[in-house]
Symmetry: C2
Subunit: 259 residues, 2 copies
C-alpha cells in the first residue's frame, strides 16, 4: 500500500490531479485498486467523490458555527482537529482490503497542513505497518513563468520536503495547458541549468539575488530535487502516464534521486 499526499499552493491543481489520476487508472489500469481521501475540511465541492472524507468528521463551516471563529481561525482550528480522527481514517482505510494506492487531497491552503504540526502528525499516524508513503508536490506553471516565481515555488517544495523528511517526493509542473510552449521550455531549461536560470534573473535589480539563484540552482540540481519536474495538464489528461510511472517507482522503492 502506498499513501500519496498531494501537496501544493492553493489553486495549483491538487484536486484536478486526483480526478485525472483516478480516471487514468480506471481506463488503463483497472487491476489497480485506488482509494481517494479528502483531507481538506474547508472545500465545498470536489470534482470527484472521495472514498473517505474528513468532512464526515470535521468541517470549517461547523467549527465557525460552533466556536464563533472567523474563517481564518476556523480553518486553522479545523485542520488541527483532524488529528483527532486519525483512528477513524485508519478504520475506514481498513475496510478497503489493502488497496494499492491511496491518493490524499490535502487542505487548499498548504501551510495549514505543511507548516503546522497536524499534517506531519497525520502523515506519520497513517503510516502504519508496511505502508509506504510519498508526496506529490504541485508546481503551478502560471506561477513559474517568471524565474523568481519558479525559485520561490522550488524553495516551497524543498521546505515541504524537510517537513516530511522521510517521505519521497514527486514534483509536477501542473497546468501546462495554460502557458505558452516557449515558457514551458524555459522552465524546463532552468531545471537543467542553473546558469540559464540565473541569466533569466539578470533583470532583477540586485546582483546578490542572481548569485544566490546560481548557488541554489546548483544545490538543488546536485541533490536531484528538481531534476524530475514532470510537466502535466491534469485538465486534458496530458502527462498523467508519467505521473503514474513516477508513483510506480516509489512503490518499487526506486525513489527520487532526492534520497
Amino acid at each position: 500500500m502506498l499513501i500519496q499526499y498531494i501537496i501544493g499552493p492553493a489553486g495549483s491543481g491538487k484536486t484536478t490531479l486526483i480526478k485525472s489520476l483516478v480516471e487514468y487508472l480506471q481506463e488503463y489500469n483497472q487491476e489497480i485498486s485506488v482509494v481517494t481521501i479528502n483531507l481538506d475540511p474547508g472545500c465545498r465541492t470536489l470534482p470527484y467523490t472521495p472514498d473517505i472524507d474528513i468532512q464526515d468528521y470535521v468541517t470549517v463551516d461547523a467549527v465557525m458555527e460552533k466556536t464563533g471563529l472567523g474563517p481564518n481561525g476556523a480553518m486553522i482550528a479545523a485542520t488541527d482537529l483532524m488529528v483527532n480522527y486519525v483512528e477513524d481514517l485508519k478504520y475506514e482505510i481498513n475496510q478497503y482490503n489493502d488497496p494499492e494506492i491511496i491518493l490524499v487531497d490535502t487542505p487548499g491552503q498548504m501551510e495549514l497542513f505543511s507548516f503546522r504540526n497536524s499534517g506531519p502528525m497525520i502523515a506519520n499516524a497513517l503510516g502504519f505497518g508496511s505502508v509506504k508513503r510519498g508526496i506529490i508536490f504541485t508546481y503551478d506553471s502560471t506561477m513559474c513563468i517568471h524565474p523568481n516565481g519558479f525559485i520561490s515555488t522550488l524553495l516551497l517544495a524543498a521546505s515541504v520536503q524537510f517537513r516530511f523528511a522521510n517521505l519521497s517526493q514527486i514534483n509536477l509542473l501542473t497546468k501546462k495547458d495554460l502557458i505558452h510552449k516557449e515558457k514551458l521550455e524555459n522552465i524546463l531549461k532552468w531545471v537543467d541549468d542553473e546558469y540559464e536560470l540565473a541569466s533569466a534573473t539578470e533583470n532583477l535589480e540586485h546582483g546578490m539575488l542572481r548569485e544566490l539563484t546560481l548557488s541554489l540552482g546548483r544545490t538543488f540540481r546536485e541533490f536531484g530535487a528538481i531534476s524530475e519536474l514532470l510537466p502535466i495538464s491534469a485538465k486534458y489528461g496530458e502527462g498523467i502516464e508519467d505521473v503514474w510511472g513516477a508513483i510506480q517507482r516509489v512503490v518499487n522503492d526506486d525513489t527520487s534521486p532526492y534520497y
Copy 2:
C-alpha cells in the same frame, strides 16, 4: 516613508509583533509617526486598532455571503479582491501626512499574500514616489526547535524573499518565551554554523538530506539570509528594540546583507 510588510506562517506572531512595535514606539520614540494597516480580510479580532483596515472594503465573511463560496475559496477570492482597493489605501495613507513608518499586517495564511499575485501587486502599487519598502519575516520558534522545522521555515523565508525580490528582509525568531533557553541557543548556533545544523539532522533517516542541509546552510549563510535572525518575544516586549534598530537600518539604506 518606509512600508514594512509583516509576513510569516499562520500563528507565527505577526499581529502581536505589530502591537508590540507600536507600544514600543509610543513609549520610547514618541517623535516617530507610525501608521498601521491591516491587510487580512479574514481576521475577526485584532489586539490593536489598525489606522487603515482593508476590512472597510472587503471581508471574507462578505465574500462568503455574496458568492456562496466556502471559507477556503472565499479567502482566496477576498485576498485577490484587495488589489481593487489599492487606490483607496493610497488615499488613506496620504491623509497621514507622510508618516515615517507604516506597519502592514498581512493575511494569516501567508500563501494567500505571498504565493498568489495579489500580494506582490499590492506591495508594488503601494511603493509610490520615494517610499521605501521592506519585509519582516517571522520564524515561529516553536516550529524551529527541530532542525527540519528550522530549515523548512528558512526555505519558506527565502521563498518569500524571491517573491518580493526587490524588498529587503528582516528575519525574526518570534515567541522565544515559549521555548527553553537551551533550544533557543541551539537554533542560533544553527544560524552561524551549517555543521551544527547538519549534525542536528543526523538523526534523520536519509544521508542525502543531511548533505542538502549542509549545502543549504552554507548557501544561506554566505548570502546573509539568516545571519541576522533576531530572537524576540513580542508578548513580553523582549528584543523589540533590536527590531526597531533593524528597521532603522532599512530606513537608512543600510539594508540586510541579503543584498
